[in-house]
């Protein structure tokens, strides 16, 4: 009973593991400067109850260089949640992986863990001449670090292509092939066992590390997202010893396999435009932009090849339209962009700083990142047409590799009024300038008052006004006489037509009707005479509006019209 309770206590504390590893297949790729480890674990539930969590381990040295880690169930794309937990062994670091569904006793689950380690390879010799190749040492363990007992395991180390392997520690069974060293299979290795190995091999990949990548994303609601990256590169591989000869460099038979960074390709989003690249004193390097189906590739050849210990820094920037990265619903906006984007393959970034410059007066800013980052205090950046400055969100992350190139989201609230405020601000600026001119024009800067001149000016002003009135009157007369001319012309035309029509009526209907119809012309003559008289009266006296005359005239016109109508209806 007592022994039973002790056992129960032990299992409660987790001292007795309920898992064992049936098989472990580890492959370590050390062809570039990044150590890429891909491990396929076959966990088997060896305990008494269903379990939802498994643990994996890394040695302390590995953990110091660990940059990126991701776990998936083999054959499945969804990522599993992974978190650091307290280790049972001081020389190891443990991570717990949460399984999507519990695994019952006796069942197995295959989990693939991809991990990336930076700065894990040491150049030996540490200094080489220009004509020499770079050799590096990989230090690790023949036994894969594990939190449980491992039934069978095998480790394959892939060295650089076409490179020599000078030495590799032999832990029986060990097989050394071209570009490959295979350790194992080993049977029944206890948890937290390690066996140190050293692989000394040729690796001419330029170990170029970006000591700083400062990525600035500036959002403009006028339809643009501007991205700019400031990058500092240092070659941290074997240092160049002795002098550098450009001739030897050009004539080197190794060509691209020299341990120097000659050129690299940066992959930008497919909609990138207005791409620019410059270093400290401008762009005197060779760069080319190639537009591909899915991306825009920028090929950059720095002005000098980067040898061991050398460094350079440059700025690259481009614009992308908002359609691809900015989303909106009402006054809610969300920017979805990469926290870190491609610089060149297998890069190691010591420090990544990503800044997001949002428009002015944004509210309720929220940021969600695919992995943990350091959020720094927000900054304000005043730029064009700003009043208080734009909000800048700053996040930092250390030890970044290519796998960190993932999307993050910044969501915020923004009102349309704040967008239209910018042109209005410019308008008010111009209005203020005009205001100054208007006020200035109304000041009198004459030292001595000159009443004569003022009187002269006023006189001139009045004369101008008078001339204006005369001009207006003349143009009114012109309109009037033109109207009269038009009236006479059209009357004659209509009269002629009327005569013709009357003739027609005479022919077709009867002479009596025609006689009646010809009376129309009589009334028309009356009307025409009236109009003529009226016009004469108007012309005679411009001051007299002729109230009575006018009324009489209107009355007579109406009478004539009524009679004409009566005749027409009589016919």
């Amino acid at each position: 009973m007592k022994a039973f309770s002790v056992l129960g206590l032990i299992s409660l504390l987790g001292l007795v593991s309920s898992w064992k590893i049936a098989n472990l297949d580890r492959s370590i790729d050390i062809a570039s400067q990044v150590v890429k480890v891909s491990t396929l674990y076959t966990f088997e539930n060896d305990g008494t109850s269903a379990e939802k969590q498994v643990k994996i381990a890394f040695s302390q040295e590995e953990a110091d260089h660990l940059s990126f880690i991701a776990a998936t169930i083999e054959g499945n794309k969804g990522k599993l949640k992974i978190s650091k937990v307290a280790a049972k062994n001081a020389n190891f670091v443990e991570y717990a992986i949460d399984l999507a569904s519990p695994i019952t006793t006796g069942h197995q689950i295959k989990i693939r863990v991809n991990s990336r380690f930076s700065h894990a390879l040491t150049p030996l010799p540490a200094k080489i001449q220009q004509s020499e190749s770079q050799f590096v040492v990989y230090q690790g363990s023949a036994y894969a670090p594990a939190a449980y007992q491992v039934a069978t395991q095998k480790t394959t180390i892939k060295t650089a292509q076409g490179g020599k392997t000078l030495s590799a520690t032999n832990i029986v069974p060990t097989k050394q092939e071209t570009e490959r060293v295979i350790y194992g299979p080993y049977a029944n290795i206890a948890a937290f066992e390690s066996k140190e190995i050293r692989v000394h091999y040729e690796n001419n990949f330029p170990f170029v590390v970006a000591t700083l990548v400062e990525r600035t994303i500036e959002v403009s609601h006028w339809g643009n997202v501007a991205v700019e990256e400031y990058i500092e590169l240092v070659h941290q591989g074997a240092e160049l010893e002795g002098s550098f000869s450009r001739i030897d460099y050009q004539m080197d038979r190794r060509g691209r396999n020299q341990p120097a960074l000659q050129h690299f390709t940066t992959i930008l989003p497919s909609t990138a435009r207005d791409i620019y690249y410059r270093d400290e004193i401008g762009n005197i390097s060779t760069s080319a932009v190639r537009i591909r189906a899915q991306s825009v590739d920028v090929e950059i050849r720095p002005r000098f090849p980067l040898f061991g210990g050398w460094k350079t820094s440059y700025v690259i920037g481009y614009n992308v339209p908002t359609e691809e990265f900015l989303y909106n619903s009402g006054n809610q906006y969300a920017l979805k962009m990469k926290l870190f984007d491609h610089v060149f393959d297998n890069i190691v970034v010591d420090k990544l700083v990503t800044k997001v410059v949002l428009p002015e007066h944004v509210k309720k800013v929220k940021i969600s990142t695919p992995y943990a980052v350091n959020r720094k205090p927000d900054e304000l950046r005043p730029t064009y047409l700003d009043t208080i400055g734009r909000l800048v969100i700053v996040v930092e992350k250390e030890n970044v590799v290519t796998d960190h190139s993932q999307f993050f989201t910044v969501s915020y609230e923004f009102e349309f009024n704040d967008l239209i405020r910018e042109p209005l601000l410019a308008s008010f600026f111009f209005l203020a300038l005009f205001g100054v001119v208007i006020i200035y024009g109304r000041f009198d800067f004459t030292i001595v008052e000159d009443p004569e001149r003022e009187a002269e000016e006023r006189h001139q002003e009045l004369l101008e006004k008078l001339a204006n009135f005369v001009e207006q009157k003349q143009s009114a007369y012109a309109v009037l006489s033109a109207g009269k001319q038009h009236l006479t012309n059209s009357r004659n035309q209509i009269n002629n037509k009327l005569g013709e029509e009357v003739e027609q009526v005479k022919k077709l209907i009867s002479a009596a009707a025609a006689e009646k119809a010809s009376e129309l012309a009589k009334y028309d003559k009356n009307v025409f005479d009236l109009v003529d008289n009226y016009l004469k009266a108007v012309e005679k006296s411009t001051s007299k509006t002729g109230g009575a005359d006018e009324q009489q005239f209107v009355q007579k016109i109406a009478d004539a019209r009524a009679r004409a109508d009566a005749i027409l209806s009589g016919i």
Partner: protein, 79 residues
């Protein structure tokens, strides 16, 4: 709110129309400036009209404000 439920954001003015807008708005604005300047220079103490000056100034600054914004956008200063 979830990003996947949101629509893609399109700018109120497409960037291909920035040059036309700049030239038209700035052009009208400059003509109004010219008119304003001529009026200011030729006016005498008696003939100044505040209403006319302010109207022309307001119109001109409206056109110039929007015109210069689109000029900034056209040359790549995304405000």
């Amino acid at each position: 709110m979830d990003v996947s439920k949101m629509n893609k954001y399109h700018a109120p003015v497409h960037f291909s129309s920035f040059p036309h807008l700049t030239i038209t708005l700035c052009g009208i604005g400059l003509l109004l400036i010219a008119y304003f300047t001529v009026a200011q220079v030729t006016a005498t103490k008696a003939s100044r009209s505040l209403v006319k000056d302010v109207t022309v100034a307001t119109l001109a600054s409206f056109f110039l404000g929007f015109g210069s914004l689109f000029l900034l956008l056209w040359v790549g200063i995304y405000v």
